[in-house]
Amino acid sequence: MTTYIERFPAEARVIRSTFFTAFIALGIGALFGLLQVLHRTDVHRLVDSADYYHILTIHGVLLALTFTIFFLAGVFTWGLTTSLDRGVVDVRFTWAWYGLMVGGTALAAIPMFGGLIDGIDMSAGVLFTFYAPLQAHPLFYLGLALFIIGTWLAGADWIWTYLAWRRENPDERIPLPTFMVLTTTLFWYLSSLGVAIAVVVFLLPWSLGLLEQVNPLLTRTLFWYFGHPVVYFWLMPTYMLWYVLLPKVAGGKLFSDPLARVVFVLFLLLSTPTGIHHQYLDPGIAEGFKFIAMTNTMFLLLPSLLTAFTVVASVEHGARQRGGTGYLGWLGALPWRDPVFTGMALAGLMFAAAGFSGMVNAGMNINYLVHNTFWIVGHFHLTVGTAVALTFMAVTYWLLPQITGKPIWSRSVGLAQVVTWFVGMTLMSNAMHRGGLSGVPRRTAEPQYENFDFTPAFGTMAELDAGVVIGGSLLFLSAVLFLGNVFVSLTGGKDLTSIPENAYAEALSGAEDGPLILDNLKLWLVIAVLLVVLTYALPIGAIIDRGGLLGPGGSPYPLVVESGRAISIGLGEVVA
């Protein structure tokens, strides 16, 4: 029996740091979430409504980018080293990317919080989507750029370690968790390139005054080129945990290793050429391109459905190993008292609900009904706000002892915490979805207008507000319980004997059952790039052609764009 910290003490230290950074972001983000809920419903307005966007930016950035990405960087480092049974090549490099990510976050945080402090003349109320025409202080973009470079170096670290392992084990199949880390890293490189270009080439020079103006549609499109795949940057580590850890804590084995590989390959191929589905209502992008994005999006449902099937089959296998029988009776045999299992299971259940509202968002015509309404907020609090966030909190109860050597202070509090999150989100998200259907806008400090009342399909607005406030308060309580549990656990002493061995689920049908071509990452990467070029070259070319690289009337920079060459530049933009 060895725990992670005994086997990889140096790596455990880095993972601890990524987790703690993530938890600080979670704490502040959750507090600001509560403030938003109270502000929008006019229960209590702590800040002036004019400052609402500063709050919302901090909430969005700290939760959707900082919390998730720091945590997943730790999870990937754990999964890679555990499955390769090998440490990283040089832990100083690992600290370097962590340091760069922290430095970037800190730089971006200065103007983000500066907007709320009277004495500081900097602000970044541009929301976590930060495209033009909203403009932030240059430090915000600089911090973002450093943060992204940090994640690229993290990816390089994982690939480097994998290559070192490959030299030592030339004939072995890539272990599943490593395979998942590598496919995710590859599409992250591909997709984050778009946002890096938007930030470094356009937004940063613009905020510094070097550029007079930018083309808002272009920065939006480049953002969403990254903005959809980033969703999979959160989801793939979540899926990895559902595939390799959930069956283990359920007492069973993963149903099929090759199927899991197929899923990750599909995500590598399909997650990027879909971003335009966030722009169904953007003028300036032809319907045809939107239709292609919609088709790709619907294909993306396939790997998610495969995941649902594989994960449930694995869990059922676990339950039957534990003595469960019957059509549904096996459900009772699962370890429901374990917050690790229950948290992940409830997160998965909510993700199924999110799939339904997601399909509504993805349909070009029904999207018009819900676009930019509270419905969308209800939707992504089920995906990133629960499927991802709740899974991350639940696995903390498993991983924290591994990387600290200290047992969790109270597993019962942990169970109460994950259940509270589930119930809180049920109430908040339901009210948000319904509010959105009756036209309540998102990103609005005071959604009620004079001489106008929203009329929900049934019930009253006051009830919907109550749902949001009660749900949001339960969620905040849950976050406090989580952070408190972590904190008290850390103040406790080490007790390695009470911690399970560091391992992940074996597979009923192992890697050897899958064709070798699945592991040909170069091939998949080339196809992924081709798909991206096919879906994005023409729309980006058209946007530049019509509006200019820097918008109508903008002086050409850094190259002269003529109508005919726009497409090839658009192409270069994407492949470069």
């Binding site: 019957g326 699962l334 429901w336 589930f422």
Partner: protein, 69 residues
């Protein structure tokens, strides 16, 4: 107990979205359910779940045995 306390807790939690959405479904078929009616329905449902869970199995002769969790 028919199921473990942990399973009971989760069962109650999972019933909540169904109770909340029962109102949506009711509205869909033209039944206007007030919040209080929904809460009453929820209380009844959850009480029934608890009662079912704690009822000793052997008091119901003739029923197929459900698995213990």
């Amino acid at each position: 107990m028919r199921i473990s306390p942990g399973a009971l807790l989760v069962l109650i939690a999972v019933s909540i979205p169904f109770i909340v959405q029962s109102r949506t479904v009711a509205a869909f078929i033209g039944l206007d359910m007030s919040v209080w009616q929904m809460i009453a329905l929820g209380t009844v449902t959850i009480s029934a779940i608890i009662l079912w869970a704690v009822w000793p199995e052997k008091w119901l002769p003739g029923r197929p045995k459900l698995e213990e969790g």
